[in-house]
Symmetry: C2
Subunit: 354 residues, 2 copies
DNA sequence: TGTTAGCACTCAACTAATATGAGTGCTAAC
DNA sequence: GTTAGCACTCATATTAGTTGAGTGCTAACA
């Protein structure tokens, strides 16, 4: 027992590392338990299957491999993947065309920021062929650039709040074009260049006082409008979350079971799950949660790799890739690295500091 | 043969209708071939299984039923469903609470029209538990209410086009706040209350002439801005399409086969498919396409039920439900009927004619 | 003439028995 | 330390046999 424990903590020698790497590489491709013969043949280690078998037995004892049953090959354990991700994984170089295309698609004829982020999620899913989750920028530092009221019918007015993006909502109220303009002017004077967290209920009360007497609006209407302004401003902080390419889950053999797939789909449909999920990941660089490192029961057989994107060196949103534990980590890491850097660049650009 | 053909065109007597209805009702619930004994027992027709068997044989001969194999029960054919939908189906009454909730959710704290429509799709999927496809209003008659230019950083300006909804895009260009305002004023004077199809390239040229000399902007910048204005206005016509609750597909036994499900997911992911699909449906009232009535290969085992929603009696968008052929048509028809009427009401309201 | 009981027949789906073969661990020889 | 060889294991595939739901047809009955 003492001996066993020693072994468990012993460092892997180079040959063991090579073999473990070969097994995981193999398994990532095949999703089938890997046998000693396959390794001995396909990977040129110059070792017989018997030798590999011995090493595999050791690796299993150390907790890096699992044997589903006596007469099957080996499958990486969570610890095996973890070791692979930390120490074994080869750098993956994305093709130049892929990088070029990415740049184009992200910055090209790109509309609004929300969409840039959504698009980044889409691109990550295209690059990796896994499902992606992306959270739109958290907006504590987002300044209000403009507020506007536009009558869109006789009985309704559209409230616009322009920050780095636009939010809009319809307010059911009768308000003439002129009164809208007058109201908007005051709102702008008071709200422009403020950030969402600077605007309190008091700010709104001030505005109310300002308006009363200066503009002739029914109190009921005014309260209605200001109510929505406040609500909309408060909502600026709401993190939007987008899921892209959920269907890719169905293509991996570990989810041939429809019920399992359905569980994940339901999980991905619930934004509150996703917000929690994505908020629980590391805040620096690229981060992987493998199998049981995920808190959520449903993701025990998945890995989640996330990256932060930032502005002025401060993380403001995350992009994550969800796939089977045997995902192609090297490729995913490379893709996320690239995309996050491109988003950073883009945000820098639009924020006017660049 | 002559006799057979006669039979095929013969009208169904009441008893046959009752039996066919019983079979389809049964099959909609179970997804398993329906046997004569089950009908004889569960539905109080006062007939023995032998009699039912005889009738079933007739119904099969007439093309309304199919026997998957000799020793199985009967399954409705496409023609069977068609007859059911046209003549047999019972009116379905949605619960009062469901209707109330729908009204609340649709009109309550509802933001913008795009979202109302998306929400309607969501509600339809919640009401029926099938996948829904909904196309946002086609905008030929949408008037431009306001155009605005807002600087959002030192190097970028946001272009806003407000119609019944808002579209926005970022233009990378240096433009001071004052110049933005001046430009916006001219754009508004020229574009307000025009519909997208009224604005041609000439309109834009006019505006260009107007601006040159009056406002001091670099020609390059001006051309850039006007280019985007034109492009954005042209894009107003783009039909947006939303799919809701695609995952519901996985819950029906006809899609236990992951590959089949995946096909459909891919199909639903491709907006061009959906646009074609939804444009090929009837333009009045509620419309069903059953099985092979769908042009698309992939939907041969599905039914698609659509309804138009309209403004001033003119259809401007569609809402569709996609599910297995044995879908609960009565429920789907009732749900779509209700929702489309509610949307009509809502649009009427916001358009200011109501 | 329409209805039904009864019976022989069919065939998908389940079960059990058997074969296959990929892969292992262990031993003994190199 | 490495490896050939062999006995052993066990998931998977194959086959044969059984079951039972459901049918069509016939003959008797109201």
């Amino acid at each position: 027992m003492a001996y066993e424990r020693m072994r468990t903590h012993m460092d892997l020698n180079d040959r063991k590392k090579l073999i473990l790497q070969a097994i995981i590489d193999e398994y990532i491709g095949s999703a089938e338990p890997v046998g000693s013969r396959a390794i001995s043949k396909k990977h040129e280690l110059g070792l017989s299957s018997a030798t590999i078998r011995n090493e595999m037995a050791d690796l299993e004892e150390m907790g890096y491999l699992i044997q589903p049953h006596t007469s099957a090959g080996r499958v990486p354990s969570d610890a095996g993947y973890r070791f692979y991700v930390n120490s074994l994984m080869k750098r993956y170089q994305l093709g130049v065309e892929a990088i070029e295309r990415l740049r184009d698609e992200l910055s090209g004829r790109l509309g609004i920021l929300d969409k840039a982020v959504k698009r980044a999620g889409y691109l990550a899913s295209a690059l990796t062929d896994y499902t992606t989750v992306v959270s739109a920028p958290v907006s504590e530092r987002v300044e209000i650039k403009k507020v506007d009221l536009v009558p869109v019918s006789e009985e309704s007015v559209m409230l616009l709040i322009v920050t780095r993006t636009v939010r809009s909502r319809i307010i059911k109220t009768r308000l003439s074009f002129e009164k809208c303009e007058a109201l908007a002017a005051i709102l702008n004077a008071k709200l422009r260049d403020k950030t969402a967290d600077e605007i309190t209920f008091n700010t709104i009360s001030d505005i109310e006082q300002e308006i009363i007497g200066r503009i002739d609006v029914e109190p009921k209407v005014l309260i209605n409008v200001l109510h929505f302004v406040y609500e909309s401003v408060s909502e600026l902080d709401d993190t939007e979350i987008y899921v892209e390419n959920a269907k890719s889950i169905l293509q991996y053999p570990e989810y041939r079971d429809v019920d399992k797939a359905r569980e994940i789909f339901s999980f991905l449909d619930d934004k509150s799950n996703l917000k929690r999920l994505i908020s629980e990941t590391g805040n620096e660089g690229i981060n992987a949660k493998i199998g049981d490192e995920n808190d959520s029961e449903i993701l025990q057989d998945c890995s989640l790799v996330t990256v932060n994107y930032s502005l002025d060196g401060k993380a403001i949103g995350k992009l994550g890739v969800i796939g089977p534990k045997r995902m192609d980590y090297a490729r995913v890491f490379a893709s996320l690295d690239l995309i996050s850097r491109e988003i950073d660049r883009l945000l820098e650009y639009f924020s006017g500091n660049g």
